[in-house]
């Protein structure tokens, strides 16, 4: 069989897996929705969650699509499409593919035509994400029980404990924004973008107070994310023109 990284066969098997995962999302959605109604939650609040999550997802989804395109030059479309729709993340897939390629003496700079190299890359990308899929079913319940036992001992501390967990994650990623500062003025671009987006979030909060529009608050995160991304364009131009 002549190998082609964009073959119909690859599209078919990839589509099957993607449809399976889409089905899982729908099943969990329906289950959560029913449970929400059972608990007597306001349907409006549920709808708002769906609406704001959908809007929020658009920009990151296009960034992920950009990752698919970047990897497609070497690997064709089906494999990167699968890897970035299911489990993968932008940072992981590109690194895994590059590491696998170099391990078998290939590079991602050109199209992979040797099926043995292609399958080596496919195996490494698949095996690299196994831990999460094994550990969630194995340990998920125990971790949850651990957290709820902290909560049942002292509910206020339980809440503070979870806030600490969020803040740990948020501070790690905010710290990451400063990783390029050593490169000089252009390395500050991410810091300026972060500040711009933070200011937009504060403005959303103030607007919500002044004009009393609740929807602004519900869409504040997508608005600030998109606004920050949009502002990064003039910020980058400005900084680059100053830095020369």
């Amino acid at each position: 069989m002549e190998f082609n990284s964009n073959s119909g066969f690859l599209y078919v098997i990839v589509s099957i897996v993607i449809l399976f995962v889409l089905l899982q999302s729908v099943v969990f959605f329906v289950k959560a929705w029913r449970r929400g109604k059972e608990l007597g939650m306001d349907v409006k609040a549920l709808k708002k969650t769906v609406g704001s999550s959908a809007v929020f997802t658009i920009a990151p989804a296009f960034a992920i699509l950009l990752g698919v395109i970047a990897l497609s030059k070497a690997l064709g479309f089906p494999l990167p499409w699968l890897r970035l729709t299911v489990i993968g993340s932008l940072t992981y897939e590109a690194t895994a593919a590059a590491a696998a390629a170099s391990a078998v003496g290939a590079t991602l700079a050109e199209r992979v035509t040797d099926p043995k190299i292609f399958t080596a890359i496919a195996w490494v990308m698949a095996l690299g994400i196994v831990p999460g899929l094994v550990l969630v079913p194995a340990l998920g319940k125990k971790i949850e029980n651990g957290v709820s036992s902290i909560k049942s001992k002292d509910s206020k501390w339980g809440q503070i404990f979870l806030s600490g967990l969020f803040l740990g994650m948020i501070s790690a990623f905010l710290g990451l924004v400063f990783a390029d500062v050593h490169a000089g003025l252009t390395g500050w671009i991410p810091v300026f973008v972060m500040l711009a987006s933070a200011v937009l979030m504060i403005v959303c909060g103030l607007l919500r107070k002044i004009i009393k529009a609740k929807w602004i608050e519900d869409y504040a995160l997508p608005i600030s994310l998109l606004g920050g991304m949009a502002l990064s364009i003039p910020i980058t131009q400005l900084v680059q023109s100053i830095a020369g």
């Binding site: 899982q24 939650m41 292609f118 831990p131 404990f161 994650m169 671009i189 364009i233």
Partner: protein, 231 residues
């Protein structure tokens, strides 16, 4: 209460079936490609590839389970770990949705909101990428255009800048120490950027440690007012 437990148990049951099936399908893909093209890679090559990524990615994978499962809840975890893009999409989406809905993670209501947010986000992502691959010739010139590259390069700062305002303003007393440590760390050792996942629990331990001290000293007694108090 009995009902609560049985609901969670039922999510665990179906969650395990779905996540293990997803794992089987994921492994089946390279198997199918190898069988169809009769091209098995050299075991040495795959091992060598694994050796260069597994130490970091498996460590991060283990850490992600311990840090994100308490945030995402039962249904959210089974779904989020299958659909991926956790730190850059699913976790911020779930945290923000729970905050907006005024529900706590780990509660029944938090469970519902988090699962709905992650399911919606997964469905939209899948659709956008599928449409993008289908309509690629029309879309590629736009999203690959030089002018838009800064926007995609800065998605994480734009996301965490906004998210930071929401969560830091609520618990600023707990946030200061981990923030200061993380910023200093990245300023001193920029190469840590490739292992940010490993630093998430470090930040969390610092935050939780500081919170414990402040809590015991009675300094967290009155809940810090959010930036925009509900009227």
């Amino acid at each position: 209460m009995k009902n609560d437990i049985s609901y969670r148990d039922s999510v665990h049951r179906i969650g395990r079936v779905w996540i293990l099936s997803a794992l089987a399908m994921l492994i089946a893909v390279p198997v199918a490609i190898c069988l169809y093209y009769r091209a098995w890679p050299s075991i040495g090559g795959v091992l060598k590839g694994m050796l260069s990524i597994a130490p970091i990615f498996w460590t991060v994978g283990v850490i992600e389970v311990f840090t994100y499962v308490p945030m995402l809840g039962t249904g959210g975890s089974y779904l989020g770990f299958v659909t991926g893009n956790l730190a850059n999409l699913k976790v911020p989406c779930a945290l923000n949705s729970m905050d907006r809905a005024g529900v706590q993670p780990g509660t029944e209501e938090g469970e519902v909101i988090s699962t709905l947010a992650i399911a919606t986000s997964s469905i939209i992502t899948t659709l956008i990428i599928a449409l993008g691959v289908l309509l690629l010739s029309q879309i590629a010139p736009v999203i690959e255009s030089e002018a838009l590259q800064p926007a995609f390069a800065n998605i994480l700062p734009a996301l965490f800048g906004a998210l930071g305002v929401v969560f830091i303003s609520k618990d600023w007393k707990i946030a200061i120490a981990p923030l200061a440590v993380m910023i200093t760390l990245f300023l001193l050792i920029p190469s840590l950027a490739s292992a940010v996942g490993v630093l998430v629990p470090v930040g969390a331990l610092i935050a939780i440690g500081v919170a414990r001290v402040l809590y015991k000293a009675g300094m967290l007694d009155e809940k810090t007012a959010p930036v925009e108090p509900m009227d």
